[in-house]
């Protein structure tokens, strides 16, 4: 499941729905990204996606992750629009027979989502708004996975 939503995300409801009836799965890892207030420097976060294109691009990576880590299933929900500090921005859940695979796949998906997924992010501060570029460490996080391939 890959979904974009303008409405608030309910990570707990998603986790319970995702885990229900999984008799052979064993391991469910999740990540919830919350908007940070940055001590008042961020009044709101605003995320723009390209509907259709954004889900399709995320889908390509999710299919890769499913094969690479042997996932049973995944769920990716991403908030778009204006987001208040403390509110969930992104929720990723992965299910696998063993926890190593579930953790690594969740980590991998988040590295992609935070650095390369087709979103445009604006931070609204007390003195106006600015567009955010990806942080260098986001790209560094993502290259970890390339290195592992070439090991």
């Amino acid at each position: 499941m890959i979904r974009l939503t303008f409405d608030p995300i309910d990570p707990g409801g998603l986790l319970n729905e995702f885990s229900r009836g999984r008799l052979e799965v064993g391991a469910v890892a999740t990540f919830t990204g919350l908007a940070r207030a940055e001590a008042g420097a961020t009044v709101a976060l605003e995320l723009e996606a390209y509907p259709g294109f954004t889900e399709a691009e995320i889908g390509k990576i999710a299919v890769q992750a499913k094969a690479r880590f042997g996932l049973e299933d995944f769920a990716i929900l991403h908030r778009v629009g204006k987001i208040a500090p403390g509110d969930p921005v992104v929720f990723v859940a992965t299910a696998a027979r063993h926890r190593r695979a579930a953790f690594e796949a969740c980590d991998f998906l988040m590295d992609y989502l935070k650095s390369k997924a087709p979103f445009w992010k604006k931070e609204h501060g007390p003195n106006g708004a600015r567009w955010v570029e990806p942080r260098p460490e986001d790209h560094a996080d993502l290259t970890r996975w390339d290195k592992e391939i070439s090991k």
């Binding site: 390209y50 390369k116 445009w120 567009w131 570029e133």
Partner: protein, 79 residues
């Protein structure tokens, strides 16, 4: 009339997000937009701006038909 979409800071520069513009080629569309709004023209040719035709990234020029959706995508920030 193809649909032109601007994302991220490009729509802030242009003051619009979606317009219908008639143009035979991607290159002619870019010329039209730049003549009309020099700041937008510069932003569209800036580093890292990608173009998607009907949600597929393209490089170089391309013919446009009336049903084409052209999206200009500045560097993606991730979520």
């Amino acid at each position: 009339m193809a649909r032109v979409l601007l994302f991220g800071r490009l729509s802030d520069v242009a003051g619009w997000r979606l317009r219908e513009i008639d143009s035979p080629l991607l290159s002619t569309l870019l010329t039209t937009l730049a003549e009309e709004d020099a700041a937008l023209g510069e932003a569209l040719s800036g580093p890292g701006v990608q173009v998607a035709l009907d949600q597929v990234i393209v490089r170089g020029d391309a013919p446009l038909n009336t049903a084409t959706e052209i999206a200009f995508l500045p560097p993606m920030s991730g979520g």
